[in-house]
């Protein structure tokens, strides 16, 4: 391919990916460089395409649960929740109070696991090996809790229409608390090598900048928008589940750079821990965890459509779901924050970026490729 560019005489074309060094690697970035400066870049996806949305159109409602969690590996529960909530809304199912709290717990646990993983990923992308070692271990402790609660470590398949599949195991709150303390104990060390380190600051401050003007144009959400000073959070703006009854802060920063986005994540870990503690404390002790639902083999849902949203660690995630009176969905559109961030926003951010800053920038957004090519 020849590239017309009047401003430079020589341009190098480079493919970054698709290999898999982390959440940015199972897609490919095609960049054009002069020297080590990126002139422009294009995001290419498709390497993970499994056709989730289309598969759901051919499955009975309940059979979509084992699929949707695969739309985001680090944070499957948001997908489970959104599918459940949209089908419940269209099918007229109300979930019991206990299920509301258990769902909130699981959503926040998955946010927390995802946030610590992203902090590790961000540090790793700048060459700090110790931090990912720590944070992936911390994530594994959270996965232990998931295993205990849901029966699965990575893909939980815990929520179903009507509620959740199991109640809390005995002693779960104490063991969860132990994990939360482990995370809190680690945070100061993470700070020392990253946020307090002059080297790391040098590397991340003023790099990977976003422009507030893009917000409306692209529909940016999550840490990316909060790093530009907009206090937008679905949990606060469009409250769902038990979030209205929980005390937490929406963290903002103004840098709009890698540092600001990572810093937000760092503080959101604290908020997330706070939320999990509250949920475990305020959750009703008794009551059913699921409401009865129609026969899953023959359940038909009348014609209807809805958009349900939730705050994932990457930003607003939403399911636009259409039913047509049959036993399958007519259409599900999965709105993942990564779609906006990974194409429109990232491609603008690439311009003028140093090639060495490409991965730290992508991880700081971050993108989750399966969410972009669902």
């Amino acid at each position: 391919m020849t590239i017309e560019n009047p401003h430079v005489e020589k341009e190098t074309q480079l493919w970054v990916g698709p290999q898999h060094p982390g959440v940015t690697g199972n897609m490919a970035i095609q960049v054009w460089l002069t020297g080590d400066t990126i002139q422009r870049g294009i995001t290419h996806v498709g390497y993970l395409h499994r056709g989730f949305e289309k598969l759901m159109e051919r499955r009975k409602f309940i059979q979509s649960f084992p699929i949707v969690c695969r739309i985001c590996v680090p944070e499957p529960d948001t997908n489970e929740y959104l599918l459940a909530a949209s089908i419940e809304e269209l099918g007229g199912i109300t979930i019991p109070e206990k299920a509301v709290w258990l769902r909130t717990l699981v959503l926040e646990m998955s946010r927390l696991a995802s946030l610590v993983q992203q902090i590790g990923g961000g540090a790793g992308a700048t060459g700090l090996g110790a931090v990912p070692n720590w944070t992936y271990t911390l994530r594994d402790y959270i996965l232990d809790s998931f295993e205990e609660l849901t029966g699965g470590r990575v893909y939980h398949m815990y929520m179903v229409y009507g509620g959740v599949r199991r109640d809390l195991p005995v002693g779960f709150a104490e063991r969860m608390e132990a994990t939360l303390r482990k995370i809190e104990e680690r945070l100061p060390y993470i700070d020392k090598v990253t946020f307090q380190s002059s080297v790391w600051r040098e590397r991340t401050q003023g790099v990977g900048l976003t422009d507030p003007a893009w917000v409306k144009e692209m529909g940016i959400s999550g840490p990316a928008i909060r790093a530009m000073g907009f206090a937008r959070d679905v949990r606060r703006d469009f409250p769902y589940l038990a979030y209205p009854e929980l005390d937490f802060s929406v963290i903002t920063s103004t840098g709009g750079d890698i540092y600001a986005r990572m810093e937000i994540r760092r503080h959101e870990v604290v908020e997330s821990i706070k939320i999990i503690r509250q949920v475990l404390q305020k959750m009703p002790k008794d009551g059913p965890v699921a409401a009865p639902i129609p026969n899953v083999f023959t359940w038909r849902i009348p014609t209807g459509q809805t958009y349900v949203r939730a705050e994932a660690s990457r930003g607003e995630m939403g399911y636009y779901t259409v039913t047509d009176g049959s036993d399958k969905v007519r259409r599900v559109h999965v709105r993942g924050a990564s779609y906006v961030h990974g194409f429109a926003m990232a491609e603008r951010m690439f311009e003028g970026l140093n090639i060495a800053d490409l991965h730290p920038t992508l991880v700081s957004i971050p993108t989750c490729p399966p969410e972009m090519e669902r």
Binding site: T137, R165, P169, K192, R201, E202, I293, N295, V296, F297
Partner: protein
Amino acid sequence: MSLKNALAPFGIWARALARPYTIPVEDIMRAPADRYRGWHTNDAEACIGCGSCSDICQNAAIDMVVNRDATKGDTGLRPMVDYGRCCWCALCVDVCPSGSLGLSSEYTWVDKDPEVFRYVPGVDKKPWDDDTKGWHGGEWDLINHDRVPMSMLPGETRGQTWAEVVLGYSEEEAQREAARCLECGICTAACPAHMHIPEYIGAIRDGNYEQAVNLIYETNPMPEMCGKVCTRRCEDVCAHAKQGEPVAIRWLKRFATERFDDLREVIKADVAPIGVGKRVAVIGGGPSGITVAYYLAIRGFEVNLYEALPTLGGATFFGIPKYRFPMPSLEKQVDMLRGAGVKLHVNSPVDAALFEELRSTHDAVFIGAGLMRGKAMRVEGEDAPGVVNALTFLLEHHLRNNTDSDKVSKEPVVLPGMKVAVVGGGNTAIDAARVSLRLGASEVVISYRRRKEDMPADWEEIEDAEHENIQIDVQAIPLRIEQTPDGRLDLIWGPAEMVADKPGARPKPVLVEGVENHLVVDRIIGAIGQGPNLRWLSPEAQGTIADKWGWIKVNEDGMTGMPGVFAGGDLVNETADAISAIADGLRVVQGIPRWLGLQ
């Protein structure tokens, strides 16, 4: 940039002295969580092979494979799991109606041979087969095992009325109940007539009632009868029955047929007129005869049906009380026969001479004469006045009340205020007891030699009888009947103890010697079974088609030893229920054209 920031990263050197943060390998090999979803387990004996697990698996990881011989209620299939496809979501466990399938909590399984990762849990033995941890049914199920309750007349008042006890489902209730069906089809195999049960239940669920009755009429010409009084083997084997209540298949069939006042407008018999020009005589207007007559008539045969009684229906007319199966329901089914062009000859008992005439004037003859002889109790004093057979009692009662027959006295056997004992434990015994109650009996006692759980009567019938304050004495063996000086009857009975019999058989009642109990009543009704009576045939004909007790033997087409003479119903089929008789009729509907070379 401050010095503090420059030095900050070195702060983590403090960790060099701390315990390693990564997890030692022995921690990784820790025990899995209690509800971890690992490799499958299955209780192969409790599994019924319904295939719900295979249906729900969106990865097609589960195949149903032949493991054993199919029986009623067990397809003989067992799930085989392919772990190249399984994603351990455990939906298969959550929908397993028998509760047999589970996931063990086993984390790891390493093998060099990839083939071993396809196995039949519970059949191919694995170390984790008995793991009680993991993910198992019971704690929480995805399917609803509770039946939509049926509304009935209240038990206290219905003893005084002949009105139908069961009120039927509303449309909403029927659709809700129909929606419970898992569509496994285990019922179809258990139904003697192999009715298209999941299909018509699906049609009811979707509100396609015309489609439902058409599906029903493909294999059953008396669905309103079966919808009300069928012995419903289908429900016994329903997958839901393993852990809860079976789908109310019978009530749903009833609902579908009751939607239409005249089924002739609805049923579209779409069959080839293969029998044009052929004549078939049907002897007996019970379920088997009606089946043969209806399905041959719609295939173009000229059918003559001979019934000794004034009304068609056979045992469903004279045996089954009208509070269970009212006359209008029966007439609706007879109308279908008329609509199909069957020539009905009622009040026309067939004798030896007419039988021979029918043989010579028809291409085939079907005998569905039923069991018209009530068995004796074989106790001393049985011939005392006031002791009647249930069959005679019910027959006379129904002729008296539902026909203008002059062959029965106008005086009922049971009069108001009498105390009645019924000996027996089948549906006939329950019917005789409940009819007696409605005739005004002050007290009705059923006396049965085995335990209540051994009673052959339908469990709902037993419950209904108890709700009507009918007393059931169990483990009571009748010894003799004596007349008391004041003209009453004394049923003397001895208690029985249950002794284990052959494996698989019900325990035997054995008389406890030396104890005599007295039950003083006004009427005793013996309801201990019926037998064949072929005396209306010539001795030669009897010898050709029947054994010495009068039971008829037939081949796989339903044909007797006499060429061109077919038989079915209770005379052939010892199960002696209506749906088996219909199944016999269906066999003959295939058999007669085959014998005539029409197929």
